[in-house]
Amino acid sequence: MTKFNPNEVVFEKIRYIEEFDPTTRQLLSRLTNVKEPTLNFTSEGTPVTDAQGAEIVTFYNAAQGTLSYTNAIHSFDLLAEQFSSEKVVATEDKKIVAPVSEVLEIMDNKVVLKYVPVGTAGAEIKYVQLVNDSNEFGETLEVSAAAAEGKFTIDAAAKTLTFQEGTTGRVIVDYEAEMAEAISLAKTTDSMPPIRTLHVHCYFRNKCDNNIKYIGVITFPRAQIDISSVDVSLTPDGGHAVTYKLQKPYCDESGKLCSVFVYKD
């Protein structure tokens, strides 16, 4: 059997990037829409010079690396890591309280909300804003225990707000409601991004025979998301850019920043 020893190959694409917990090896996420991946390594060079100042040799040490890529699709798992926080997923028992905004037409002095508002009992919504047909702000109405001029009352369970007789037009209602189907993320001012083990899975093709496919896996034992600058593009085609700082395993003498494996598909 001839030895499998490819040198020049055609890079086809990244299949996906997997993230593991470095200690438990639990798979935490898999990003499948990776584009524009770049890997960069730097080292500190210390030249050794002779008496005349001519360079004899340069020692390189303290190698560092970064891995950057853009996920074509926005990823909340990735964003949670960039926020150095957990993505909270609501359940029927543990609902998430989220902000809601509605513009409703007042009918028979009432409006019916989409969700059950939460907050201080009997005053779950403190203010609402009347708007006219040109979307201009009108009077601000305040919650009250009883109906009166400039006031409204709330029946949270029935999702109903009741206004003073004769109140017409549209009303902007901002409130908070419990959601059973929701997620939430938060970025705090001081937080430490977790260390992950990354596996970048790619496809290569034989440069002479395109039908011969190779699988490449680049592993990074310790990668930490760089949060010194996080740009979240709030556009449909923006993609989700991320940069990892590569570190060598702390207790590992060999100090591998990354390893590359290629095998036949």
Partner: protein, 91 residues
């Protein structure tokens, strides 16, 4: 720093300071969004319950009799408090 008054009690009409971002507001003192004191919130919930029919007049009167009523009332609250406390009135 002196705290500015930024809210008006929806029962007694007194001005008071409320901070909606403070931690205590999000836990035990959320009534401060509508009233200045816990006592005023008790009145708020009584008037509210009386208004939507969940607290009968007799029971509402008993609750109000057990409250330290404030010196002042917002006019529309005053009307209902008087109505509740008047044993001869209808409803």
């Amino acid at each position: 720093m002196a705290k500015e008054y930024n809210a008006v009690c929806s029962i007694c009409g007194q001005r008071y300071h409320v901070c909606n971002t403070c931690k205590s507001m999000k836990t035990q003192k959320s009534w401060r969004t509508v009233t200045d004191t816990a006592e005023c919130y008790k009145i708020y919930m009584t008037v509210y319950g009386y208004g939507n029919g969940t607290i009968p007049k007799e029971k509402a009167r008993n609750i109000l009799n057990g409250c330290a009523l404030p010196k002042t009332f917002q006019p529309h609250i005053r009307t209902i408090v008087n109505e509740i406390r008047n044993p001869d009135g209808n409803t």
